[in-house]
Amino acid sequence: MDSSFFSPLLLTFKLASITTIILLIISIPLAYWLAYSSSKFKAIIETLVSMPLVLPPSVLGFYLLIAFSNENFLGKFLKTYFDLQLAFTFFGLVIASIIFSLPFMVQPIQAGFSNLPIQLKEASYTLGKSKIETLFKVLLPNIKASILTGIVISFTHTIGEFGVVLMIGGNIPNETRVVSLAIYDEVEALNYSTANQYALILFAISFSILLLVYTINKKYLRNR
């Protein structure tokens, strides 16, 4: 096994880690707003966030590819002003993965907020605490299980994605060639044993992560 074998693995975990961290930062305020707002735009935003759950990844990938293309407004704008190229780059993959995995992070956190008794928040306000302090010291610590679920599902989901990655990333070694694409490639080239190694590693890692989380969550729920 040489470095070209490990490159897709490393790339996959780099992509999944970066995506998950950025998703967490975006999703907490978004989920907070969705859980507590009574704005009339809420339904629209909620629908948009959930779209990746029902859309075939190829549809999403196709539109993102069009949007990122240098021919179009967004792509042209980013290229001209920020010298950013999104299509067929790692950075583009990160953006696409964030959009694609958004519901997997937002929904558990939103559900966590909604399931907390509203009085917890109000009690904190009556004690003179600001919204921010209430969020970090009262709300988030009480929905740890939901946050953990969001992190794990987003992470594992990003590891497993294929359609979006293929559309946006192409299949460039060391840049956008993640494990799921590498498996497909090896199978096409009839290298079943290499494909099997990748597949087995992915299977084992995903299984271990999920097992770990369910064990932790069970323990956490028992202690409540």
Partner: protein, 289 residues
């Protein structure tokens, strides 16, 4: 003085009602609000606390407006100097008892005050306990102590004792009264329990269909029409049994069960009805216990 004159439309399962609360509360008074559920008692407390916005009107404490539709003033909950004890206690499950109190501190150095509060509310020994392992009464004491950390001027209590057994209730009533005096609070207390209202309040309001229909000293408003040399108790019918030509009605009065013989069932009494038991007070026997 706390001055309130607010209007708020409420949705209830019996259709919408218009809550119009207009009253004044003197400083250091202990006031109770009673009335049927859904009458708007909790909403009044929430509007004073700033957790619910009135549709119209004013809320004024001393010389400061907390809410005024006209002047477009709506002081956020955090800046009103109130303490709110919720019906379900609302302790923070991610903190132990002492951490719950410390969380409410403005100046984290005032730990002496926390110790003093732990002392006065009788929760010593529970400091390190997980709040989920406390009994209802203990939770309520902790919730009470936590609201006092901020040294509020007005204490709002939303049926805080309704889930407790009678012994715990009495104990907590005494503590609330002690705290009310010790901290020179103005206290507003929502309650259903007549005995509690008599015991605690200087002044009482009865709310019905969104309006205050009676206000005054509990002795005056609850007994004025009724006191005429008679004994009276309010109870709930548990059971009616026909026996030969009479009916035997079993009634729950407070925590006691009494049986009363009725010649006939003229007033169509049925199980679950609230009734007044009254008798001429010619020859009751009083025994000291």
């Amino acid at each position: 003085m706390l001055q309130i004159n607010v209007i708020k439309k409420l949705m209830s399962n019996e259709g919408d009602i218009k809550l119009h609360a207009e009253f004044e509360i003197n400083k250091h008074d202990f006031v109770t609000i009673s009335g049927k559920s859904g009458a708007g008692k909790t909403t009044i407390l929430r509007m004073i606390a700033g957790l619910t916005n009135p549709d119209e009107g004013i809320i004024k404490f001393e010389n400061n407006f907390w809410f005024s539709k006209e002047k477009k003033i709506n002081l956020p909950c955090q800046e009103r100097n109130i303490g709110f004890v919720f019906q379900d206690y609302s302790l923070f499950p991610n903190m132990n008892v002492k951490e719950n109190l410390i969380f409410a501190l403005k100046n984290k150095k005032e730990l002496d005050f926390i110790d003093y509060l732990i002392e006065i509310t009788n929760i010593k020994g529970l400091e390190k306990r997980n709040v989920n392992t406390l009994s209802g009464g203990q939770k309520q004491k902790v919730a009470l102590a936590r609201t006092l950390v901020r040294k509020p001027e007005i204490l709002l209590l939303d049926e805080p004792l309704s889930a407790l057994d009678s012994e715990m209730r009495t104990q907590l009533q005494n503590e609330i009264l002690k705290i009310h005096k010790e901290f020179k609070l103005t206290t507003i207390f929502v309650s259903h329990d007549l005995a509690e209202i008599f015991k605690l309040s200087d002044k009482s309001f009865i709310l019905e269909d969104g309006k205050i229909i009676l206000s005054g000293k509990p002795m005056d408003i609850f007994t004025s029409k009724r006191l005429s040399g008679k004994l009276k108790f309010i109870g709930e019918i548990l059971h009616i049994q026909k026996e030969n030509i009479v009916y035997i009605v079993t009634i729950l009065v407070g925590n006691d069960i009494v049986k009363i013989v009725e010649a006939d069932n003229n007033s169509n009494l049925k199980e679950g009805d609230k009734v007044i038991i009254s008798t001429k007070a010619f020859s009751p026997i009083l025994i000291k216990i």
